[in-house]
Amino acid sequence: MEIRALLSSLWRSRTGPILVAAQVAVTLAVVVNVAYIVQQRLSVLNADTGIDIPNIFWVTVAAQDPNYNFAAAVREDLAYLNGLPGVVAASTSNGPPQSWWMMGLPFGTTQEQLQQPSAVPARVFLGTEKYFDALGLKFAAGKPFDAGIVAPPATGMNETIANWPAQVVVTQALADKLFPQGGALGKTIWVGLVNRPSTIVGIVEHMQGVPSMGSKLAEMQYQIVFAPIIPAGPTAFYLVRTQPGKRDAVMARVEKEIADLQPGNRFVQRIETLEKTAAQTRFGMRSSVIILSIVGVLVLAVTMIGVAGLAAFNVTTRTKQLGTRRAIGATKFHILRYFMVENWFITTTGALVGCVLALAAGVRLSTMFQMPRLPLYYLVAGVIALWLLGLLAVLVPARRAASISPATATRMV
């Protein structure tokens, strides 16, 4: 077909095509980057946490009696919770996983490493030997701490840390970081600030503390140390995992019973499913995914309107010319093809410019959100998507053009 004629005709009335191309360019830059951010966030939102979130709830029990025997109450509460029908396991802890709350300490393979930049920061979760069952974590190697090593609660966080135990469990991610050569099980690691060594007795396959975008701090969400410690009182925190389907029933029973089981004028301060906690920490990210997706779709829709609008205008102004073409033998297909190819050229020009814009915006965004660079296949996908949408948008006016009667040519308008 007459590509040269088509191009020179495009060039002669270039303002409209340039505008559509510019629109396609900005659209590509916006849509590709928005899609990338959305995809990144979705992958974080849907990442495997290693935790059996749907079957877990947590409860905090506070006491008003100044002479409350916290240590005894915790012992009895744990026995009660673990003995309830439908409960898989229950443990104390220092806060719900999947919440923003976090405790962190530096770790090293030697005492000297603690003072060096190579010290590895990790999140610290405290629990009893049942903690791993209470979250449904899987062991890659070793086992939970010994039951006997879990000391009774201390009176404050600093005392708790000062009494740091001799056994810890770590995640595979932390083990790999500290011991790149492998064989972490049974090795000793040093705990920063308390300056004490602990032996790794178990390695948890995978756990993610809280969903978070690729900043360096996010690595900490996978680098976790579990220590056999019951946190200081007087408010107790329990994580309870139930058999599938029994969570709500067990939760209702615990809420009703647990406070009065022990003396100390106790009450349930808060009881919540881990599902809800996790949903709340994901709330901001999830809503931004929704909003960005809507914006992306709208931008595409607006651009399709622009493409269709220009094509429709061209059809109107070229009615006579198109009729003449038909009169001298062009088939409907030829006319359709003419508009399709014309549109394809405009879209492609715009998309190529858009790729440059997208990359520029992508560089800025990747430093902003500490994401990896925009992968090039996003650009390819974006260009293809705009081709398809452009052709779709031009289809209606092009079909109208194809249906122009050859008799138009001889008619005085």
Binding site: T15, G16, L19, V20, A22, Q23, V26, A29, V30, V34, I37, A62, Q64, P66, N94, M102, M103, G104, L105, L114, Q115, Q116, P117, A119, P121, V124, G156, M157, N158, A162, G192, L193, V194, N195, K216, L217, T235, F267, Q269, Q280, S287, S288, L292, V295, L298, V299, V302, T303, I305, G306, G309, L310, A312, F313, T316, T317, A361, M368, F369, V413
Partner: protein
Amino acid sequence: MLLHDVRLALRSLRRNPVLSALMVLTIAVGIAASMIAITLYHARAGHPIPWKEDKLYAVTLDTRDDEPDQGYSRHPEYPPFQLTWRDAQSLYESKIPRHAAMMFRSNRLLSPPSRTLKPFDVVVRVTTADFFPMFDVPFRYGGGWPRSSDSAPDNVIVISKYINDKVFGGINSVGRELTLSGKPYRIIGVLPAWMPQPRFYDLNFGGAFDIPEDIYMPFGWARVEPPRPQSLSCVRNNAKVTGPDSIYTEDCVWLAYWVELDSRAALERFQQFVDNYTRDEKRGGRFPRALNNRIVNVSTWLEMNDVVGDESRMQVGVGLAFLAVCVLNIFGLMLAKFLSAAPVTGVRRALGASRVDIVRQHLIEVVVVGLIGGLVGLLLSFGGLALLRLMFAAGLESSDNPARMQMLQSLNHMDFTMILLATALSLATGILAGIYPAWRIGRLTPATFLKTQ
């Protein structure tokens, strides 16, 4: 003449209802997207206490170890945002500031006097007395405490409106007693709904857009019931936390520190004082880094803490890019529309319309589309923001402090400035999209189109 042009524009728009509706909708969506993003940005970028911009200063000391940066902070040049316990105590000795406050956040269990109310957790700010006059905290009833209460425990507290409403039904509760974690306290002041946005004086917990604390307690209590951090963070990684007191000696307890300085000269004197203190401490082996003590006003402080946030900036960027797409779209559609109506324009030229008449008439048509689009866009942004509010509300706990809801609501509320901005934006959209098509159609020679009809 202007009125006549507006009438012509409306008539021309009515002639192509589908096209006009598409154009109005396009602009509306573009305006709405950018206005929602800008509104959220505007709320985050606000100054909570502008009248004290050259008086209030946050104090930071670079206590850090002489270790290379590990890439956790985007601005490794900034000192830590809080002072260690002992540095705060030392600076508090200075008489240069008119006011000074060291403070931290803590939790207590509140046991209400009435049996019908369950005990609940409250957030407490333990602070020195100057907190109230320095931050211009208003009082509904009563007032703050004397400085003497900061050196030894004194059982007095100031409570927020929320606590006063919840526990005392909103009456003047000054003089009443309240039990916090088993200890009785006497209420000496009640605040009205006080909600600086962002909560600049402490950006650490719950983010910059959380509500202020429920209870305020004299710093004297910090000396007998010291801060009990839930997590440890010490100046040096090789600190040795071995007992209850070691977290102080090992610099693991942090306080926020603010001063009010009367003049530029006072600021210089105070900076001098702080630097001299640091130099003295260097001799004892602390402060291994080069002098880097930053005493910054509220604007700089908010900037250092990146209160606005990249998310917000990205939203504005996406919103404006969207608007740009819409402008290009209207630009193209208008050009096409004008050119296809060129014969009519030719007639008008023949009838004596000058170029200016034609350009003005067409420009006004685009501006009318822009303004109608802007109006619809404004409605859309109200709707969008209302939806966002609903979304945020759904994310809140039912048991949560009602003040938190109020805070979230005000964060995505359009004020008058935003409405003005929306108008200006839609006007600019119209002019930007219309100036070339109008000029182009004005340039057509009148004779060209007369014969072809």
